[in-house]
Each structure stands twice: as structure tokens, then as C-alpha cells.
Assembly symmetry: C2
Homo-oligomer: 212 residues x 2
Amino acid sequence: MEEKEISQTVVGRLPRYFRYLGELKDEGIERVSSQELSDIMQVTASQIRQDLNNFGGFGQQGYGYNVGFLYDEIGKILGLHREHNLIIVGAGHLGQALVNYTNFERRGFLFRGIFDKDPQVCGQKIRGITVRPMNEMEAFVQENGIDIAVLAIPKTSAVEVAEQLVSCGIKGIWNFAHVDLRVPERIQVENVHLSDSLMKLSYNLSSREDEE
Amino acid sequence: MEEKEISQTVVGRLPRYFRYLGELKDEGIERVSSQELSDIMQVTASQIRQDLNNFGGFGQQGYGYNVGFLYDEIGKILGLHREHNLIIVGAGHLGQALVNYTNFERRGFLFRGIFDKDPQVCGQKIRGITVRPMNEMEAFVQENGIDIAVLAIPKTSAVEVAEQLVSCGIKGIWNFAHVDLRVPERIQVENVHLSDSLMKLSYNLSSREDEE
DNA sequence: TAGATTGTTAATCGATTAACAATC
DNA sequence: TAGATTGTTAATCGATTAACAATC
């Protein structure tokens, strides 16, 4: 389907376009030019046009882009037109926070199961979803068409759990554990390394001080 | 102090170097060459040398890099040799998850206060830290030398809270709200847009399918 | 000294911006 | 038709990789 491979740099910008277009749509705005979007989003109009043209000509010369149409198209590109079945591994604070964050569901990311190794936690319900023991995970993934697993566990167990998930056919891993997972190329991994992010902030604070 | 501005691309890689060097150090390994590190980290040796040389010559020809020394140096570059005083705004699930994540503390990021607009939540303690009402926030920041604020609140209130924080002298904002904050240039903002991250994963899952 | 490996310059590659012809 | 704005090519800029002289 895809002609050329799209760079991750471009992919990383798509959600932001999607967000701003959604806001414009909510405001009832029907059309937008790359220049107008450029002013709002603080990126160059040129970059916007280049980015969008990776996926096809969504605009019209002399008119610009139809907000609703472009919003829907980017949504489709991002795969938001279909539902994803997710499980969360790790029912700690972070796992709970993610389950309770309803915005994911609105975008079609549906939490189907929660797993935890702690027998004390198993059986409890989080937002209506029962926490299950780890030994039920692999069967659950296969029986419920789970495509994404969220790793909200310490790095010590993440590598092993990732291997289990791969072996039972998971397609994507949203990894909050602070390790780089080595998985077959067909498996998509998206890392959220919170402490890396905080260190970046720390660096920028220090370097700013140095300038003064 | 800094000679030239370091690109955010390079800065973004530093925490990862730091992590791997920490692991080598824990294993008792004393020296490492850029080539060895390259094999472990799956980046080119050339990039490692270029990145490190942005900050000075940490290695020695014919020998490589001293693991402990390089680890400490990168730590200093990242500003981890000094303590940071943080507050969390928003005592919801995410805010609680962050407070309970002890690794930040180990790196010198100390949570000094938690704030929430819900009177029901105020007065409660999370990991020994009392949740305070929002109207105490500005004074608290000034009186306790808070340099970083963590925004774990919905986007609807994030813009306003960010303005308050800026006005009372915050230096950095770790922003988990799904908005782009517009703050003066001197303020550092580091965004964690979880839904953007999930959408990226979703895109990569879809594009992978298309290839098959 | 010989071998190893850095620091650094030069070459390549990719991403961003500028420019403009195509066209609505 | 005239004006506006895209889609796209060309120019620039920055980041990555390769190569190698410096040096431990």
C-alpha cells in the first residue's frame, strides 16, 4: 500500500497535526491554508506541505486544505479508524493511571485485560477490568486478538515478559520500562522513557544557566 | 560555560549513554571503546565519538573510555550532580504514579509538594507528601526554591497553571498535559505527550501491515 | 616501538526551507 | 480571468558516517 517508507521524523509530527486539526474542527473552521496552520503550530508552511504530500495531495490549489477531510485522513494514516485491543502488564500506579486515562479509549485503544504478578492484586478490578495473573497472559492475548501490550513493569522483568508477548503473537509493545527491548523486526516497539525525558529537561535547565 | 549550542538530537541521546554506562559500571567493567559501546547500544562508534566530543575529550587514544569517569561526566552534563526541587500539579492517577516512582529521587529529583484543585483530595498524603490546594502553589514555589513543576493535569487547566508557574519563577516544566505551552524562552518545557506516542505506535503497526 | 583507539576533518546522507510552476 | 495556494523541485542546512592523522 505504502509507496515509500516514511521517516519516523515525519511520523512523529503527524499526531500534532492531528491534534491541531481537531481543535480547528471543533471551532467550526472548515478550511485552512498551510500558512495559517504554520502560524498556529509554529512550524514552516513548507514543512507542513512536504509532510502531508508524503501521503498524497490532500489540498487544493488556491483554496488550502479542508479541515474535516484532512483530520479524517490523518486519523486513517495513524490507524485511528480501527480499534486496537490492548493489555496492560503491571497493575502498579502507572498501569492504573493508564487504564484510567479515558482519552485512549476514545481513539479506539481498548484495554481488554490487566496482568500482574502479585497474587494480592490479582482479582481486583480497575475501571471494571479484572487484574489477572501473569500465567494467563499468553492465552489471553491469543484468545482476545490483542495487538498491543503496554509494559508498565520494572525493567528487571520487562525483557522476559516482552519475549513471552512476542512468542504469543503480539504486534506492538508500548514500553514504559527503562530498557531497550530486543525483539524481532516485525514487532513494533514504542518507548516512553520517563527518566530520559526528565534528564533532558535537567540538561536544558543547566545549559540555560550556563548561558547567563 | 558552554562553547557552542548542543543540538537537542544529541542531548536526547545522552540519557541513553548514561544508562548503558551505568550498567557497565555495575558489572564492574572499567574501560570501554567506542566500538564496544557501539556493539552494545546499536549505534555507530562514530556517532558515539562525535556525541561525546561535543562536551570534551573524555577518552584516551589506544585505550578507550574509562567507564566510571565517563558515567560521572555525563551525569554532570545532564545536571544530575545537583538536586532539583519539584512540585507536582495534579494528584490524579498519573501524578500519584510519578510521586511513587522512586527512581527520580535517586537521581536527585525531589518531590517537595503536590497540588490539586479538588478540596476532597487536599490534605491527603501521598508518599508522605501532603496534597495542597492550588492557591498555595505560587507561594510554595517561591519559598521552597522549586525549579521544576510537573503538570499532571488536563489540558484545559494546563495553560493557566503554566502561566502562574512562570510568574512565580519556575525554571522548567515537565508537561504531561496534551497541549503545547507557550512560555517565555527562558523557561524550559519538556513534553510527554502519551497519546502522541501511542499514535506513533499505531501508525507503525498499520504501515507494517501494508508492507505484507 | 607497535597496536589500538581516540579526536577531528571530510564525505555522505537526510531533513528542512525556499522558490516557483501548476492549477484550482 | 486574477489571485491564492498547493504540489514539487531545487537549494540549504544539519546530522550521520567514513576516514585517518594524532597520540596514548
